[in-house]
């Protein structure tokens, strides 16, 4: 029951000489929603991006410590980063559909994995669009450009695109901060449905959102994980004074 998807041990990250993550230790349970909150610039995105090694792309980044995915260190030298990223998908702050059709967006990942069969692709695309509640809205125009969708639809398409490679974990970096309240509510419902099958780690700009959708919440401040625990406890009964100050709106 309390199986952990990720175990992070004393993780430090440096952008050049800037110490951006300072000794993060935490366990992320499988098939739960874990939210990170904290003032902007405190390292939430940076930490999220260490979980699929997205920071590798940034010149001058140095990582120390361990990130275990199902018990294996993803920073070990023999790790296949492409395979890792297929297990740990990512959804970004601003919707970023590719400049191609709706169908091709969802089929992008499976095609990279070598799925060529038209019927298999159709089935995957249908299932993933169904899973994000977009199927009925776009079924008649799968070949239309994804760029014509509304922002909320684009973001759900990006989630569908991510589901299509059958990840185990989905990382989301403020996925609703560019969306209106209606589109935001749809994404939140979707997240609650997805946690039956996926582990979801979400950075959110809104404490209310963290309270609504997450099982566990972590509070970041200046590159440190100040407090991490069940969402209900963290919001009603924080252990750390800084957490309390933040959630009661005294700073940030």
């Amino acid at each position: 029951m309390s199986e952990n998807k990720f175990e992070v041990k004393d993780l430090h990250l440096y952008y050049g000489s800037f110490h951006a993550l300072k000794g993060i230790t935490m366990a992320i349970p499988a098939r739960r929603v874990v939210a990170f909150i904290g003032p902007s610039g405190c390292g939430k995105s940076t930490f999220l991006r260490t979980l699929n090694r997205m920071n590798d792309l940034i010149p001058g980044v140095r990582v120390q410590g361990q990130v275990l995915l199902d018990g294996r260190d993803i920073y070990a030298p023999d790790v296949d980063v492409v395979a890792l990223r297929q297990r740990v998908g990512m959804v970004f702050q601003r919707p970023n559909p590719f400049p191609m059709s709706i169908f091709d967006n969802v089929a992008y990942g499976p095609r990279l994995l070598g799925v060529r069969d038209r019927n298999a692709l159709r089935r995957i695309v249908g299932e993933c669009l169904e899973a994000v509640g977009l199927w009925d809205e776009v079924r008649s125009r799968l070949d239309a450009s994804a760029l014509g969708l509304s922002g909320g639809q684009q973001q759900r398409l990006c989630i569908a695109r991510c589901l299509a490679v059958e990840p185990e974990v989905i990382l989301m970096d403020e996925p609703t901060s560019a969306l209106d309240p209606v589109a935001t509510a749809k994404i939140e419902d979707l997240i609650l449905r997805l946690k039956e099958r996926y582990t979801i780690v979400i950075v959110t700009h809104s404490m209310q959102q963290a309270a609504r959708i997450s099982d566990y919440t972590g509070f970041f401040l200046n590159g440190e994980l100040v407090e991490f625990g069940p969402t209900g406890t963290l919001f009603t009964n924080p252990r750390d004074q800084r957490t309390e100050d933040y959630i009661t709106g005294r700073f940030g």
């Binding site: 990223r85 919707p95 400049p99 990942g109 969708l149 695109r161 209106d180």
Partner: protein
């Protein structure tokens, strides 16, 4: 901050008068800059228009350019530009991709950038000499359209690289990361996601570069023909070209009716401006507007 009451504030009229004077001066300056350009266009149009016609545009020249048309020079120019495009597009976009997404910052990358910038400052006649000795002589291509196209391709390469690198750098980094997060290799992400998003910017840069190449006579000084194109009119033949034709006709042919020069100049201008329009019409932004 105290808010001035509605109505006039002290000195308002004086400030408005001075503002009007300032705008008038600026408008005058802008007009003075535009005037020579408008004069030039008008002159070329007025004197060149009457000679335009099917024969002038399509027929080969006769009597040492004094009669007939400029058809082969138009075709030669298009051939040279297409060839230059074939050279500069893959090389330029490849180099830009390397610089924007593969190269690690460091002395080597910085050196490449300086070299690209330096190449852009080399005078066209030097490209002409270099192209002739490399492509015509050392590679044995001779005085052919192929050698000319290669030379023009190298000439426009820095412009293409710079424009393409800027266009690629303008694509928000999450697009690339999204592709990589789905398991794409860097090359796969570049080909299917980044290049299409950067395409409008790349297209503008390439069109501008070709517009410049179309008007240059110096780089093809040693490859282009003066009076008659090679028999096949292909890449292996000696080409006529509008820019070189203008230069040659103006300096080498005594008693040439000036209207014929203006006619050729008008066609060249139309070609260059067409390419410019393509460049500007290509749209500034590298990726489509996001809808709310």
């Amino acid at each position: 901050m105290p808010v001035a009451p509605l109505g006039t504030t002290p000195g308002l009229r004086r400030r408005l008068r001075r503002q009007a004077l300032g705008f008038a001066l600026l408008t005058g300056a802008a007009g003075a800059v535009a005037l020579p350009g408008i004069r030039l266009l008008g002159e070329v149009l007025r004197r060149g228009w009457p000679v335009l016609g099917p024969e002038f545009l399509l027929a080969p020249p006769r009597d040492f350019l004094r009669a007939g048309g400029i058809g082969p020079a138009v075709l030669g120019t298009l051939l040279l530009l297409l060839g230059a495009l074939g050279v500069a597009l893959p090389l330029g976009v490849g180099a830009a991709l390397y610089l924007a997404h593969y190269a690690r910052p460091g002395p080597v990358t910085a050196g490449i950038r300086v070299a690209v910038g330096g190449l852009a400052a080399v005078p066209p006649i030097v490209y002409g000499l270099f192209g002739f000795s490399l492509f015509s002589v050392a590679m044995g291509l001779g005085r052919t359209a192929a050698a000319g196209a290669l030379t023009l391709g190298i000439l426009v390469l820095p412009t293409v690289i710079t424009a393409a690198e800027e266009a690629l750098a303008g694509v928000p980094r999450e697009y690339r990361e999204a592709a990589l997060a789905l398991g794409a290799s860097r090359w796969q992400a570049a080909r299917r996601v980044l290049l299409p998003l950067a395409l409008p910017g790349i297209r503008s840069g390439v069109a501008l570069a070709l517009a410049r190449a179309a008007g240059e006579a110096a780089p093809i000084l040693f490859m282009a023909a003066l009076f008659r194109a090679g028999p096949g009119g292909g890449l292996g033949d000696r080409p006529l070209a509008l820019a070189y034709h203008l230069y040659a006709a103006a300096t080498q042919v005594p008693g040439l009716p000036p209207e014929r020069l203006y006619g050729a100049a008008l066609v060249l201008l139309a070609l260059v401006m067409g390419l410019m329009a393509l460049a500007l019409g290509g749209g500034g932004g590298g990726w489509p507007e996001r809808r709310p």
